[in-house]
Amino acid sequence: MADGLQPTTEAIRVEDLHKSFGSLEVLKGVSLTAHEGDVVAIIGGSGSGKSTMLRCINFLETPTSGRIAIAGEAVAMRPTGAPADRRQLERIRQSLGMVFQQFNLWSHRTVLENLIEVPVQVMKCPRGEAMDRARKLLARVGLAEKEAAYPAFLSGGQQQRAAIARALCMEPKAMLFDEPTSALDPELVGEVLAVIRDLAAEGRTMILVTHEMKFAREVASHVIYLHNGRVEEEGPPDALFGDPKSERLKQFLRSVS
């Protein structure tokens, strides 16, 4: 979390979030606050609800109940948890860059077309301006030569870096990463983590669901450990990884190290 002495702006707030799939309750009241510049890492075992929690922030999963506010603006929800105002949600989604485990680049568009698609088609940014921005971002993630390539012809690491550039090209207020390295061959993980580390260093607000504990410890300003749909323990990374309080977290850290 941001150091309490400086006034910081709230970027993402999740309050008392519940989510059930049928009779299975996956999230049992979880909360999270990220101020501008925070990097919040969500860790936990398989089935702990960490991905679901992240996906509820931009309503890719519809919460069952709870409150979600982005940059101080609460997402309008029906009593069922479903979003009440499609246009508001679309606008809020444009301010959140999402990066998926499976990259999810559009396979019928080149890398450059992937980057400019939403800025040009949805956000009405002039094409030339979007292309300039996209080329700068591609250079930054080391893909300047690949702008005309189709995603299927890139390695997993290159696809994920392109996907990160695509999210950045919307100039989002915050980035959401859903296990960004879990689908990658081990030797390709490093290049993707390097890009994310670089983003953290420039003070981007990020929520990161990850299995990479060393990486979480290194880049996160705050770590949340989820177990069975509840926040079991949270705090600064050094405290959480260096001196875990709960027995479950101790067990979890032993099992992944």
Partner: protein, 245 residues
């Protein structure tokens, strides 16, 4: 009357009373009906496929009834039903309300009947194609704030095209040949034109062979066009043949 000894070349010559022009005019009508029915089928198919996948329960049920019925009943029966039964019924209603009766020409009846049939098959082809679109790519579009309409146009439709083209090419070839059914209601498409010409000249072999060649040419040209479309729709995909970019 033609001499029975007339050569095939003479019989198929262009200018009247030779029958070449008759056959080609018949082919023109065949293509016209096929294009009309195919286009109508595609429009019904796109709407039907999205309706079947994303519509409410009533829409889904109605579409299920439509695709089941239309695919179960022979096209010929549907054709006779619409041309004669529906025509009588609709015109009775129109005249009893003081309107002029509609003239169900062969073209209109043909396009409507074959279009409705095509629509049922297109619905199923396109439904399968939509389901083949990787869910993650649609999810990425949602996550980035695209509206449902924009997702359909910019993501779903282009991605489903490659999966739909082989099935849609089949449907096109089917509809070009189904136009021959219109011969039954007296509409002069290629088959009817052929039987007229053959009957007049008694040169059955020549004319039916000529008609066969025309149908074959139509299908060969169609194959070339669909091949182009498929290649375009598959841009960005790796192929089994190992094709590059």
């Amino acid at each position: 009357m033609f001499a029975l000894s007339a050569t095939a070349a003479e019989l198929l010559a262009w200018s009247p009373p030779r029958m070449g022009a008759t056959l080609v005019a018949g082919l023109g009508n065949t293509i016209l009906i096929a294009l009309g029915a195919y286009g109508m089928g595609l429009v019904i198919g796109v709407a039907g496929a999205f309706g079947k996948l994303y519509g409410g329960p009533v829409t889904k049920d109605l579409l299920a009834v439509y695709t089941t019925l239309v695919r179960a009943v022979p096209e010929l029966v549907l054709l006779l039903l619409i041309t004669f039964a529906a025509k009588d019924g609709i015109n009775k209603i129109l005249t009893s309300n003081g309107f002029d009766p509609i003239d169900f020409s062969g073209v209109v009846a043909g396009i409507v009947v074959l279009g409705v049939v095509q629509g049922a098959y297109s619905t199923e082809v396109l439904r399968g194609a939509i389901q083949s679109v990787p869910a993650g790519q649609i999810e990425a579009a949602r996550a980035m704030g695209m509206s449902p309409g924009k997702i359909a146009r910019r993501v779903t439709l282009p991605l489903m095209t490659s999966a739909a083209v082989p099935g849609l090419a089949n449907l096109w070839l089917t509809v070009t040949k189904d136009t021959a059914l219109l011969a039954v209601i007296g509409f002069i498409e290629l088959t009817k034109a052929t039987s007229l010409a053959a009957g007049t000249t008694k040169s059955f072999l020549t004319f039916y062979l000529a008609a066969g060649v025309l149908y074959l040419m139509l299908s060969l040209v169609s194959g070339l066009i669909f091949g182009r479309i498929e290649k375009w729709a598959r841009r960005g995909q790796r192929t089994l043949a190992g094709g590059g970019m």
